[in-house]
């Protein structure tokens, strides 16, 4: 696949780089340069914003940082133009990473707040540049900077530079989309917290994507500085860059590397057609109108809708693969049967309070290798909080969580996932825009074994067959019913091949027959050697499945031991039913 794509890119590059040698009027070369310029800006923006959903309105700041780096180095330090370009990219990337290092630590700064923050950063940078010797007000002239003769004429030189950068950007965007990084970014787009708990290092991934995105925009800015040869704050940091870039990506389709390129070509041509005919004002209005219409009627973008239509057609032609015939999945953790009954997970003095409500108070708990431990208790007794602490969703206020000798209490959630621990959510939280198969393949890629993409796909198919979802592999989670979504949660947890599985109310909301199905499934999982902690209200399932139970009430352990004996204890009955009045 990659070889063929590389050949296609090389062929496109060679064919397009021959264009200037046919003696095209300079005017066309300049127009095509602008198309390439916007392709770079839109496709680079899309690497963070389209893939991960962190819409930045600050692309102009990084583009501008590149522009001023080139302008400053070329005019004030006499650095040759081509050498200023890597510097422009590095300066913009460093600026982006520094910003991201602060912003991405704050989980609330998503969506519109991230957009506004990046926009504000643009204006702050503009004010600083305007008032310091970097610019100082009058702007910088690059007309005296010598332009290397790459093509037969200056306009063809810009054309070739733009072409090279556009191809490089698209290649990078394509490789990212198909890599581990891309898979992680798409998961972040749908549900960042779940992505982290499944093993995606979300902070590092966002930072890497932001750095690359900003760096490419910086290089584009460096070339543009030379192209327009007069750099001013007002033009550089205008709202036009983020507006156009967002429009192009949304118009073309922001979930695919090629979408922004389609949007960039369409919008540039459109703006140009209007400017050429003295209708610049109408052109801007048309761009605004198109943005509105696309959001309302083509939420996936032109290219996105096209791909979607093609995929649907292909699916309807090829019959579903008979996953039912696949061999049963290998043991979740083969060869782990030794040490049965030894503690696998130990919680010591675990406490957590939410705004004064003590959800867990000094809880001691032990999970033994190979057992199914039931965690029961009334609503609000701290069962889910316990699961959230162990899986790293929250940090405990105090206490230790030892898992195979390692303390999880201070570990980031994605590292916990890699130690071989997996969980399900009470209300299923699948990645809405990923197929059922991709949902299950993701933890296999980011779990303890960190399988390569193709192998993760095989593994995912096996677990889908195991949970009876084989026929739904290409569906989106939204097409599943509750019962299937619950099983998707299970398949997703199993695909990381955990040694400890935390199940949060798998049975709630299921019918009697569906519960029977689920009980069979959990027995089968256990038969393969996994240890299971099991939060449940359905007492029938608790009695049938568990070896031991722990009862929580108001954040404290009030009883533990054999299920039947414990359920008869008066404290336990009181916790569930209330105390009789004397």
């Amino acid at each position: 696949m990659r070889g063929r794509a590389l050949a296609a890119f090389a062929a496109a590059g060679m064919a397009l780089s021959a264009v200037p040698f046919f003696g095209l009027p300079a005017f066309y070369e300049s127009f095509l340069y602008l198309v390439f310029h916007w392709i770079v800006l839109a496709a680079s923006w899309n690497i963070l914003s389209g893939y991960s959903g962190y819409f930045s309105f600050g692309h102009g700041a990084f583009f501008g940082a590149g522009m001023y780096t080139t302008a400053t180095l070329a005019t004030k330090s006499g650095v040759p133009f081509l050498w200023t370009l890597p510097a422009a990219g590095i300066a913009a990337a460093a600026f982006g990473i520094a910003l991201g290092a602060v912003v991405f630590r704050l989980p609330r700064l998503r969506g519109e707040l991230f957009a506004l923050l990046t926009l504000a950063v643009t204006f702050v940078l503009a004010t600083i540049v305007l008032n310091t010797p970097v610019d100082g007000g009058p702007g910088l002239y690059l007309s005296a900077v010598p332009l290397p003769a790459i093509g037969p004429s200056p306009s063809s030189t810009f054309y070739l530079l733009g072409l090279a950068l556009a191809l490089a950007t698209l290649w990078i965007a394509r490789e990212i989309q198909r890599s581990r990084l891309g898979t992680g970014l798409f998961a972040i787009h749908d549900d960042e917290d779940v992505a982290e708990v499944l093993g995606v290092p979300t902070y590092r991934y966002k930072l890497a994507a932001f750095g690359l995105s900003c760096g490419l925009a910086g290089i584009a800015g460096g070339i543009q500085a030379m192209f327009i040869s007069y750099v001013t704050v007002g033009e550089t940091f205008s709202i036009a860059v983020p507006l156009n870039v967002v429009l192009m990506s949304v118009l073309g389709g922001s979930r695919h590397w090629f979408g922004p390129a389609v949007g960039a070509a369409v919008v540039t041509a459109l703006l140009y057609a209007f400017t050429a005919g003295d209708y610049a004002v109408a052109g801007r209005a048309a761009v605004g109108l198109i943005l509105i219409l696309v959001i309302l009627f083509l939420p996936e973008g032109i290219f996105g809708e096209l791909i979607g239509a093609l995929k649907r057609r292909r699916v309807s032609v090829t019959p579903a693969i008979g996953t039912a015939d696949l061999p049963a999945p290998s043991a979740a953790r083969p060869g782990k049967s030794e040490g049965q009954g030894q503690p696998l997970l130990e919680a010591r003095g675990l406490s957590k309070a939410f705004r004064g409500v003590q959800a867990l108070a000094e809880v001691d708990l032990e999970v033994r290798r190979g057992e199914i431990l039931g965690l029961v208790g009334p609503n609000g007794s701290g069962k889910s909080t316990l699961i959230n602490l162990v899986s790293g969703h929250f940090r405990p206020d105090s206490g230790r969580i030892l898992f195979e000798g390692r303390d999880l209490a201070a570990m980031e959630a994605h590292r916990i996932a890699r130690t071989g621990l997996a969980r399900t959510y009470q209300i299923p939280r699948p990645f809405a825009h990923l197929s059922v198969l991709e949902n299950v393949a993701l933890p296999a890629m980011f779990g303890r074994d960190a399988l390569p993409r193709a192998e993760a796909g095989h593994e995912a198919r096996r677990w889908l067959a195991f949970t009876g979802l084989g026929a739904k592999a290409t569906s989106l989670p939204g097409e599943l019913n509750l019962h299937q979504r619950k099983f998707l949660e299970l398949a997703r947890a199993l695909a990381s091949r955990p040694s400890l599985l935390l199940l949060d109310e798998v049975f709630s909301g299921l019918t009697h027959a569906e519960i029977d199905d689920a009980i069979r499934l959990i027995r089968a999982i256990r038969a393969q050697g996994a240890t299971i902690v099991f939060v449940e209200h359905v007492i029938r399932a608790v009695m049938e499945l568990t070896d031991r139970i722990v009862v929580l009430s108001y954040g404290r352990v009030i009883a533990e031991g054999d299920p039947r004996a414990v359920m008869r204890e008066p404290d336990v009955a009181a916790a569930y039913l209330g105390k009789p009045h004397a």
């Binding site: 602060v102 707040l113 967002v246």
Partner: protein, 284 residues
């Protein structure tokens, strides 16, 4: 750095309060529709400028600038309600409302440029000439009017939300629209009312702009960052927030200008916005 004189300092403080009042007036509708309806209306600024140009046009035809409100307010109310109907019809998310109204801003900007050209326009009115002297300080009537309108509208909305039956229903919608609907609140009608009001406030802010400022289509974006800073600093959906935060920002800008050069002023509002976002994202 030379310390400015006391008179200059006083005059800066005063002008900071007045420009802060305009920030508050511009931010009021924005804060209400964002905080209560989860719609981020970027087009609010373009609407305010449209209002300013309409005031300019009507005043040029001989109308008293304050009387133009009788025309502008009902028209803008209808416009705002229509816009909300469109966003609700397509159930546009908070983020996409930002993009849709971004597009709308471009259209309104083009419309303004088409009708009134990109040249600067300045409304001539009897109000512009009037100045009062308080001790060593001067106060211009348009600025005083702006402050009065901002105070009146902010307090009126606050009282409406706090003390009236519909106001309480509106707050219930802001908390949880489906639950409010289940308790018999007419969510649709109240949302249309609030969007209409927000747009009408943009029209009033337009009057204030026309009274004190020279107009150009490109100026639409000049207010965006500062007013967003005031809205966020004041707390979304809090009717007094934009005015109070606006005055804080206005005064700090004015002091920055008095102590350094005017070109540094934008740094204050945007830095404040960034600090608010970084330090207290939970507030928004």
């Amino acid at each position: 750095m030379a310390l400015p004189s006391l008179t200059l300092l006083g005059q800066s403080l005063l002008s900071g309060i007045f420009i802060g009042a305009l920030y508050g007036l511009l931010g009021l509708g924005l804060s209400l529709s964002w905080g209560m309806l989860r719609q981020i209306n970027l087009a609010h600024f373009a609407l305010a400028f449209l209002g300013a140009y309409l005031t300019y046009q009507l005043a040029g035809a001989g109308m008293d600038p304050l009387a133009t409100l009788a025309v502008i307010v009902p028209c803008f109310f209808a416009l705002g309600a229509l816009m909300h109907w469109l966003l609700a019809r397509f159930s546009v998310s908070a983020f996409n409302s930002l993009l849709v109204t971004f597009g709308l801003t471009a259209i309104i900007e083009a419309l303004i440029q088409w009708i009134w050209t990109a040249d600067f326009r300045r409304m001539e009115s009897a109000y512009g000439e009037v100045k009062f002297r308080v001790g060593a300080l001067y106060v211009a009537l348009p600025e005083l009017l702006t402050l009065a309108m901002a105070l009146a509208l902010s307090l009126a909305v606050w009282a409406w939300l706090r003390h009236t039956h519909t106001g309480k229903a509106m707050r219930a919608i802001a908390e949880d629209a489906p639950i409010a609907a289940a308790f018999g609140v007419n969510v649709r009608r109240l949302s249309l009312l609030l969007s209409g009001l927000s747009a009408a406030f943009a029209g009033v802010a337009g009057l204030a702009l026309a009274l004190s400022y020279t107009l150009a289509p490109g100026q639409i974006y000049a207010w965006l960052g500062v007013v967003f800073a005031a809205v966020m600093l004041g707390g979304l959906g809090n009717p007094l927030g934009p005015l109070v935060a606006g005055i804080v920002i206005g005064v700090s800008e004015a002091l920055t200008m008095a102590f350094t050069t005017p070109a540094w002023a934008p740094l204050v509002s945007f830095s404040l916005l960034i600090v608010v976002l970084l330090a207290r994202p939970g507030r928004i």
